[in-house]
Symmetry: C3
Subunit: 369 residues, 3 copies
């Protein structure tokens, strides 16, 4: 159109100096969980817990329907915050105190808000700083089954638009958000034992021993499918999907290629650990802290391990216990000439990509099998 | 089977000399929109309009459920016509007067028919010619909510089977098809303002200024996923999915490789433009004309821009206005030695791949925010 | 975790010496068919039968809703048995007497059990042997619409854990499982003819002639998408998805690369044959025998052909007949220097990858069109 006299390019997302402690973002979009979304992520990540696969089982346990696995709840909720909070981020530094609440079913609509707690400039790099935020995901606002499904904090390293800009000072205490894992009532009249063959026989609460490290046996190679998986989550960050941008200046980007969205290895590690740790879980309780420790690219194969840190009773529920774990993700890269890694096959080096301190609510064999 | 004495290979689709002006095709198959189809295309294309993402929002506006984005309605309807009309086409020349009608929801079944309007031989190439057709897509035939969802014409360049065959003469006027965009009633009692944070704040009707060109900020790299996306649409054209056929005679095919189905960049350009143009749309009104101007291949990154051509009131509805736009898609290819393109980064050339004259029905801030 | 003193790696699946004739596996997981799963496989495989695409048509015929295509029923049921039966297999030798029963709809939950019939050591290789099993897939256990949906036997070549271990002797007769294809009643009051345009006009029972070989015209190139497709089916076998494992010792694996799960070409061949053979089928009756005859890799293009072996009346239903066919899948690979294949274009060699003796229940034109 020759007469187009004015060209507009809109800024997307916020920069470090835009964030104000106490400020509340009510994020755009919202997301209704469809069967397409549910299936893609439950299966991609190799989740094995029957609550997410077998509706007969889920209903018999007292859930309404197939239950979204915790990794999917996290991905949907987290992704809603990306444009406002981390579109202009350099790195997501830490997940903090991520607590699960009500179960999420197909058909539920998730909406998320985020409060800014603190903004801190970097001492070493005037172009960078850290935003500390608190986010809350609720489902079905304004309906009788409105409920909090996830509450968490995170710390993100964000670029400044203008490196001379002043940052907003101050620090706000996190809101007190009621969010604790909903569990269906234990009812002896339900014939749990008749369904016990549907989950692994050796992953009840009694089976775990603190001090154990479980090396999960499966690996899963990621492909360019990550572009599609990331888009399904409404995460539009260009470093995951715009190859042309990377090609123009590869040195500017980690590894010089499209980087896989951190939520993908997050949910994949949960899935790979599922047959050994999550198969008899009724839900994930809290992720106390977590972080990505190395990037992941198409072609990498992801593996996972779980360390059993401890166990404790559930305060109200004798039928379950709380398992304290650390979930670890890793991949292998070619070793350099002369480099030896005792934890990797010859010629390879093991690289940790993810860690998550994770508490899981696990059924007791005494009550369920 | 040694005794198989007779080998059959069925012809698929029609050739130029098969089309008869006035002839009506009632296309095979039909297609029920599932949540799998809905999610794949809504999210692949990065649609941001909450009507397609947030069921609470869609229902509050007076729709029955999540609303299929216009690009998906177009893809489903169009694809139903491919086997009969364009299986043996060389190129789809032009979309004409594509008008939207009733909204499409998950569970709706779309069936399509096409009338042949005119068949014209090429003056320069005796093997080719153009078929001009009119197609109509209806949903839920024979039920109380039967409705036209899309009506359009298109011109397709089709091969002749036998270059000496005579073409069917004559010209038929298009049927008069009632098809205009259904809009939910505006009801002040609905608390639209309480949901205004879910869409972009700067894309109401008042925000657009004719003469502006909006460069949409996001790009999206296409991968071999296009094969799967095309199959989901029932488009079985071999140039999109049969690599062996291409390998046998690469020179015969554009670019010597699998070409991406034009419907993919069509819907992707709509999606890339959505945060700046479609976020507060209640629907797409008409695509007056549109065409693909260059092929797209796996590995290409798609970008889009929208020119605001004009604005006008909606004849019946003071709460919305009609935005007249031109949607443009482009990609970048490596420049040849010495070739300079002022619209592209150094060493690259900008190639327009798609254009669509598009009228959108957009909410007014005065009524909704 | 430095204090993790004990490292655990769990065995997955069974080895040859673990199987005991008469033993019954009630497989883990179970699977509820979602719209995501349904759409992915129906469309990936290019199924054209309107029963799986058009809910209006399916309901008008007397089904409850869209009907899962037979290939998908088979894939879901079969995959449930992989971990217990064939996780440590070298090859799946043969499908035997695979009979279809009740139709499967979105929302149905499939659970599967398998009885071990016989275990036989290999005479030539002390590390290997064959397990012969019988599997039964049921839907909606414990509900009024509980039903058998698929019953079959298969023979699998499985590794021994310890090549000196004794095998369990004995042979058990297969259980007698009631499983025959459910068909909706033929009711002349239903206006079948008014929907006849939705399926191909030349694939009624009357149209098939024994001794004919139909070369299906379409081919479909497989990509790395196979990793995702296999995971959606709960098939976690590492040879399909763990590139790192292959890279460590490529010679150990067929072709030195990830091999595509056999279920993928199985369902794809069914789909490619659908427009010529399955478009007017009411269901698949039995797969008497079937096997994979060569591996498939990402990048290969799959083609299919169907030999019409015979036809017979349906014992109870004059409106349909039973078509006896052999479905064949093939691909082309580069010919070696000097190698000539009359069935392939010059420079290529045709490789059969799959064969299936398949009986299909097909509508008669006399009753339906």
């Amino acid at each position: 159109m020759s007469e187009a006299s004015r060209v507009v390019r809109k800024q997307i997302g916020n920069f470090l100096e835009d964030f104000v402690p106490g400020q509340l973002f009510r994020h755009k979009g919202g997301k209704t969980v469809t069967e397409g979304l549910f299936t893609t992520f439950t299966e991609f990540s190799m989740t094995t817990n029957p609550l997410a696969k077998n509706a007969r089982y889920a209903r018999a346990y007292g859930f309404d329907a197939l239950v979204c696995p915790p990794g999917l709840v996290m991905l949907v909720a987290f992704s809603q915050t990306v444009e406002d909070i981390s579109e202009n981020a350099r790195a997501n530094l830490e997940y903090v105190d991520m607590r699960f609440g009500a179960p999420v079913y197909v058909g539920d609509t998730i909406e998320v808000e985020t409060r800014v707690l603190e903004v801190t400039g970097s001492k070493s790099n005037p172009k960078l700083g850290v935003v500390h935020v608190q986010s809350t995901a609720r489902k079905n606002l304004g309906t009788p089954n409105e409920a909090v499904v996830l509450a968490w904090q995170r710390k993100v390293q964000v670029w400044k638009r203008d490196e001379t800009a002043e940052l907003h000072a101050g620090k706000v205490e996190p809101d007190r958000i009621e969010c604790s894992l909903w569990l269906p009532a234990y009812q002896p009249s339900r014939d749990y034992k008749s369904m016990a063959q549907l989950s692994n026989a050796d992953t009840y609460f009694e089976d775990f021993e603190p001090g154990t490290r479980i090396e999960h046996s499966r690996g899963r190679t990621m492909t360019a499918e990550h572009i599609h998986l990331t888009a399904i989550l409404d995460n539009t960050s260009q470093v995951h999907c715009n190859q042309f941008m990377i090609d123009l200046d590869p040195k500017q980007y980690v590894g010089g290629k499209l980087i896989i969205f951190g939520g993908i290895p997050f949910v994949l590690c949960l899935g790979l650990s599922c047959p050994n740790v999550g198969d008899n879980a009724l839900g994930d309780f809290v992720y106390k802290t977590g972080r990505h420790t190395a990037p992941l690219f198409a072609g990498d194969t992801v593996f996972a391990a779980t360390e059993i840190l401890g166990k404790r009773d559930h305060p109200q529920r004798p039928d379950v216990g709380i398992l304290e774990t650390r979930l670890l993700g890793h991949k292998f890269v070619k070793a350099k000439e002369g480099e030896v890694d005792a934890n990797a096959p010859e010629g390879w080096k093991k690289v940790q990509i993810f860690e998550l301190d994770r508490e899981v609510v696990v059924k007791r064999r005494s009550h369920y099998a």
